[in-house]
Symmetry: C2
Subunit: 305 residues, 2 copies
């Protein structure tokens, strides 16, 4: 397996770290521009607090990398890439609320509702959701592409997407006898579908063929599941300090995890299987051009926090 | 002023009551189809509970009537009409939450979070917001029209639209010395902008010229403000039984209203001025075709609950 940070292709060495660093900077600058401090200030402060907080930016980077892989460029994908990050921020804000996961801390910082109060936090989530679509409507591409993207993103978020995952997570927390199929449903819906939409939006915007769009859909679905399986593994193998959040919290609050259901060894095997499944559809593209996404999925398998 | 229920034009009599009845039925049937009882059932039950509850359906009817006024038909406008009603339902669900207006009853029925719990209620709102855009993406019109509609709706909802209105409402509740300008800001953002988006979406879908779209925008903005001024008036002049909700509640919880700021007589004068301002842009259309919207704005001025 190639290293997570450097992929050697036929005639060049791709540096994943510098790629991630550059993309993360571009995304952060775009997010900062897209949500400026307008009136009413408090709601924009609340939106920016979570949206601009330190983060991996996996969703927007996958969107941009998918766009570039099929021949598009960063700037074309940027509004959709940032839209995906806005949805992600919205789901974090709403998930952290007292009536949901009741989290006071996220990445070592007070959660949105602890700083701005519950009502502003809920409204900041609502506004980020709306803003995501507002920015997608401004993409200067063929309108038929924009319409496809709106459909993809909306479906990924709604009552058969992220919301469905969160509902099942709530319903099954603390319930004994949760089975593998239910756990996969939660991870697929809460995480993988939004990553899938990010990749698909990037591929559509970059002018990818239907076949290329579907390859990237498959890649992203497996990568999203892998991300969650690794989250489950790290939750039981790392300290709170290493993770920047409370270790062992999933088990403590009665959430089912892969290690709990199938043990640590089998969870690691499953993660490696998902890593291979994520990379398979990328083999249909030029090796050098696919390096960013191959490196990303390796990085997710090997991440330590 | 013509009656709220019957408008006599040159060669026919338009029955507003039968128009409203027919449109309300079509909208209710479409909403029922658009949010069916899929898995996870509880979230779809929660979404349907508020979305299909008895309501005036002013937003979707304005959307359809605007579409028809510029030469389009009901079916073309229906996805956008229902999308507007989904956003309305979302804002009702989130506004009623304990951390917001903390309402246990709406139109005599328990509010969404009292039946389904806060977490499901918040998620039902999120899902309705996403579903609104999903349905708009399915409209079979020129994609460039769909993209304009997505932009109009998203802007009306977000941090400079409905959310901005709700934020100011929260910030100014219980604060002494609220001035007319602030009250108008709340009403404009919480109510009028979504009515404006509904009319504009209908006009775009119906193939209206830019001039026609702007006439309908002006109509809807004044109509939306009128709706809220009448709400303020009814809050102090009617009993809870007549309204189907707690009369005098606005004042009780420290919200500023038009009668409180300028008195009941001046509030009624202002309502009549808004009624005239709403009808003025309609005078640029064929009288007979404009009858539904003229009747609607008269109905809003004369409504008793």
């Amino acid at each position: 397996m190639s290293s997570a940070t450097t992929t050697t292709t036929n005639d060049s060495t791709f540096s994943f770290e510098s790629y991630m660093h550059q993309k993360r900077n571009s995304v952060n600058q775009a997010l900062d521009r897209m949500v400026s401090l307008k009136e009413p200030q408090v709601i924009h402060e609340s939106m920016r607090y979570t949206l601009l907080a330190e983060g991996k930016r996996v969703l927007p980077i996958v969107c941009i990398a998918a766009c570039e892989l099929v021949g598009g460029d960063e700037s074309t994908a940027m509004p959709a890439a940032c839209a995906a990050e806005m949805i992600h921020a919205m789901s974090l804000i709403h998930d952290d609320l007292p009536c949901m996961d009741n989290d006071d801390l996220r990445r070592g910082k007070a959660t949105n509702h602890k700083v701005f109060g519950e009502s502003i936090a809920i409204l900041a989530g609502d506004a980020l959701l709306a803003l995501a679509f507002e920015h997608i409507a401004t993409i200067g591409v063929l309108p038929c592409k924009t319409v496809r993207i709106v459909g993809e993103l909306a479906k990924a978020i709604g009552s058969e997407g992220v919301v469905a995952g969160q509902v099942m997570d709530i319903l099954l927390t603390g319930v004994p006898g949760v089975v593998l199929e239910q756990l996969e449903y939660i991870h697929l819906h809460k995480t993988a579908l939004l990553l899938e939409a990010s990749a698909v939006m990037g591929a559509i915007l970059g002018g990818g063929s239907d076949e290329e769009v579907e390859y990237l859909r498959t890649f992203a679905r497996s990568t999203g599941l892998l991300f969650q399986v690794m989250d489950d593994i790290l939750d039981v193998t790392k300290s709170s300090e290493q993770l920047g959040k409370t270790a062992g919290k999933d088990l403590m609050v009665g959430k089912t995890t892969y290690p709990k259901l199938i043990g640590l060894d089998k969870s690691r095997e499953f993660a490696e299987k998902l890593n291979r499944e994520a990379k398979e559809p990328l083999s249909h593209f030029d090796t050098e051009k696919a390096a960013p996404l191959v490196s990303l999925v390796n990085y997710i398998l090997n991440r330590q926090h």
